[in-house]
């Protein structure tokens, strides 16, 4: 029996992008459904009653929510192709640690840069750069966070890269100036079809952010 896979998604969500990348890495066919986040579908509300958020992966009718959980699920079910987590428990722990760090820092800090003004924005910018520098340090000289192979931490972080241009414009700064190796890593990742096919054009994200800022009256 063929697997039925559906992804409830939203085009600009870094979290949805992570699941797209994982599905393509594993060579899986799936149906993508774009949600209107201002008018959530009955299916979304039924499949994620707790958070009513995307992404939601629906595998043979059963929902899985929260992008790091979905990516690990995909990795465990389709374990014979392109493993995203390493086999060694200690390396797995390191991967989970850094994915957790990314989840706790980047989204909130990036968000503050485009939604806030003045001191709040400056503080967020400073903290974001500190976090990205720490991540760049963790990458070191490796081609990917996963070492020789693209892995779980790479999936978790690369989806923010299409938002970098929007952050930089709003905050008037350059990520590449302070984290050149990290930007080189994003370009390396974009050479993978799983990544390039899953991430929208940064200009599109930037225009979307400009629209939202106008709508919410942020300068």
């Amino acid at each position: 029996m063929a697997d039925e896979i559906m992804l409830l998604d939203w085009w600009s969500s870094m979290f949805g992008m992570r699941v797209r990348i994982a599905l393509v890495e594993k060579g899986l066919k799936y149906e993508s459904r774009e949600e209107d986040l201002n008018n959530k579908s009955p299916l979304l509300l039924e499949m994620n009653p707790v958070h009513t958020k995307i992404p939601v992966l629906i595998h043979n009718g059963k929902p899985i929510c929260e992008s790091p959980i979905i990516v690990q699920y995909i990795d465990e079910v389709w374990k014979d192709k392109s493993p995203l987590l390493p086999a060694d428990p200690y390396q797995r722990a390191r991967a989970r640690f850094w994915a957790d760090y990314i989840d706790n820092k980047i989204f909130q800090l990036g968000g503050k840069i485009w939604t806030r003004k003045g001191e709040d924005r400056e503080a967020a910018k400073k903290e974001l750069m500190e976090c990205l520098k720490i991540l760049e340090g963790e990458l070191g000289e490796k081609p990917y966070f996963g070492g020789e192979n693209f892995g779980f931490v790479d999936v978790s972080l690369v989806t923010f890269s299409c938002w970098f241009y929007a952050y930089e414009s709003c905050g008037n700064f350059s990520i590449e100036a302070e984290c050149p190796k990290l930007i080189a890593w994003t370009k390396r990742c974009l050479q993978k079809s799983s990544v390039s096919s899953s991430l929208p054009d940064p200009l599109k994200i930037h225009d979307f952010v400009v629209q939202l800022r106008k709508k919410f009256g942020i300068e």
């Binding site: 059963k62 899985i64 929260e66 959980i69 690990q72 699920y73 079910v77 428990p89 640690f97 957790d100």
Partner: protein, 226 residues
């Protein structure tokens, strides 16, 4: 091969307690290193430079930080008495509920304890909404893990010993037995399980500590302008 397992903890951290419970349940021998969090040791800072927090598990000299990460590491390294289910879908569900417990339940109950006035009322409402989801999840089960304690039970375990302490200090009911009968009975079963009962910080010391935290929070909120 000689195993060296050390756990950096504080006497009261509920996050470190999760690791104590996991190690004890699996019968793993370890050395507990108690940290004074107001005066962190150089070793703690070396082992967890990013967050500078406990718990840290050090296994044969290699450190692992963040309680969820440590729990999964323990489960993958010592396979006796598994904490997470084998089936990938059930594992995903366990991870989902564990995250929900920390992101939503813990946050709302902590706010209900530490805040005052309108913020406290709102936190209590949020806590009740979150507890409803857990109550539903408990149907037909003794523990979240099924017949025996598992990953989600360990993550939520703070509820079993801290909530009554919070309720005593603020004089408010946070987990009402009538509204959440299944959760309430889980709290009793969990707290009475021998390994849990034998590995909990002393209640009177906890009351003193959390009362002091609350007093400090009240003092700082009334001295700042609103």
């Amino acid at each position: 091969m000689g195993e060296e397992v050390k756990l950096f903890r504080s006497w009261s951290s509920p996050f470190a307690l999760r690791i104590v419970w996991a190690l004890e349940i699996k019968g793993i021998e370890y050395e507990a290193v108690f940290e004074d969090l107001s005066n962190k040791s150089p070793l703690l800072l070396q082992y967890n430079p990013v967050h500078k927090k406990v718990p840290i598990l050090v296994h044969n000299g290699r450190p692992i930080a963040e309680s969820f990460v440590i729990l999964e590491y323990i489960d993958e390294t010592w396979k006796q008495v598994p904490l997470l289910p084998e089936d990938p879908y059930e594992r995903a569900m366990a991870r989902f509920w564990a995250k929900f417990c920390d992101d939503k339940v813990l946050t709302s109950i902590w706010s209900a304890f530490i805040k005052q006035g309108k913020e406290q009322e709102e936190a209590l409402v949020a806590a009740a909404e979150n507890l409803k989801f857990l109550e539903k999840e408990m149907k037909g089960k003794k523990f979240f893990g099924g017949e025996r304690i598992g990953y989600v039970d360990i993550v939520l375990g703070w509820l079993a010993n801290l909530v009554s302490i919070f309720e005593e200090i603020v004089g408010l009911k946070i987990v009402d037995e009538r509204k959440f009968p299944l959760l309430y009975s889980w709290m009793q079963d969990f707290a009475e399980a021998p390994i849990i009962r034998d590995n909990c910080p002393p209640r009177d010391k906890m009351i003193v500590k959390f009362k002091a935290l609350l007093d400090a929070a009240i003092a700082s909120s009334s001295s700042s302008s609103k």
